[in-house]
Homo-oligomer: 161 residues x 2
């Protein structure tokens, strides 16, 4: 038995929210150690992938996609822009909207970091069989769709328009 697991009250061990938080913290440390020298990009790899797949998407759509308020997202985009990975241009349709694109340097970084991302993902699911990995992801996606749809219904994201 693992010392820390005994240390943990059973009520916590059985809480999805607690397990998700712990994995997030512990896994992120591991990922960070694999991706030294890539600036702040590793922290925002999901966001960068969404921008890559949706070039020209606006800041409000991006905020929704990663479940952040616009006020939390904008400083992150500022940092990634300063690091030369992103650029923002006013929308041709609506000047109030700012459209986000990867720079060539950003695209290059994503392609270089990809093998580290894959190694990390492999490491996370190491203790599980292929079938278990698929089950885990399927169940997590149902939970994540659920919590994200709630966000929209409750108007929690109204201020990102």
């Amino acid at each position: 038995m693992n010392e820390k697991v005994q240390f943990e009250p059973e009520a916590l061990a059985n809480m999805l929210s607690y397990q998700v938080r712990l994995i997030q913290i512990a896994a992120y440390k591991n990922f960070e150690s694999r991706t030294k020298g890539f600036g702040t990009a590793p922290r925002y790899i999901g966001l960068l992938r969404i921008i890559e797949s949706n070039p020209g998407t606006n800041q409000s759509q991006l905020a929704k996609a990663v479940c952040l308020d616009r006020s939390s997202l904008v400083p992150i985009l500022d940092t990634l822009t300063k690091e030369g990975l992103l650029e923002r241009r006013p929308s041709k349709k609506d000047k109030r909207l700012r459209c986000v694109f990867l720079t060539p340097q950003g695209a290059d970084l994503l392609s270089k970091i990809q093998s580290r991302v894959e190694e990390h993902e492999k490491y996370l699911v190491e203790p599980l069989s292929q079938a278990e990995q698929e089950t885990l992801l399927r169940l997590l996606r149902r939970v994540s769709d659920h919590v994200r749809s709630e966000d929209i219904d409750s108007g929690a994201l109204d201020n990102v328009a």
Copy 2:
């Protein structure tokens, strides 16, 4: 289909690390809205529960239990102490160690917040059957035990002594 899910590249949807991060962000917002008026305690409910179950545990053991460096944990303990929820006393066995206890006010807050925590947990797993909930937790615990044991092996927590 959910608009945001289509927005998400398939590669991300199939990454455990990404799903965990998204659930963490989206679920935390929901939890925060349920627990207004409780100060910063809701953010550290897992930590407070561990202290409740292990009265007098020292700061280094706590840091390990929640996968944080001691340098990240201490300011959190400072805040919770200022809010009157915790107190720290030097260990009788080893004066260099500081032992952490809940105050009566901290214990009272935990008991008052418990129903909100349970409501939140119920909300998270709402889309899943009882059997699916158990499967999801069992698989997540295996991943979390795996990433946490790695932390110890790699010496990543050496500086918490």
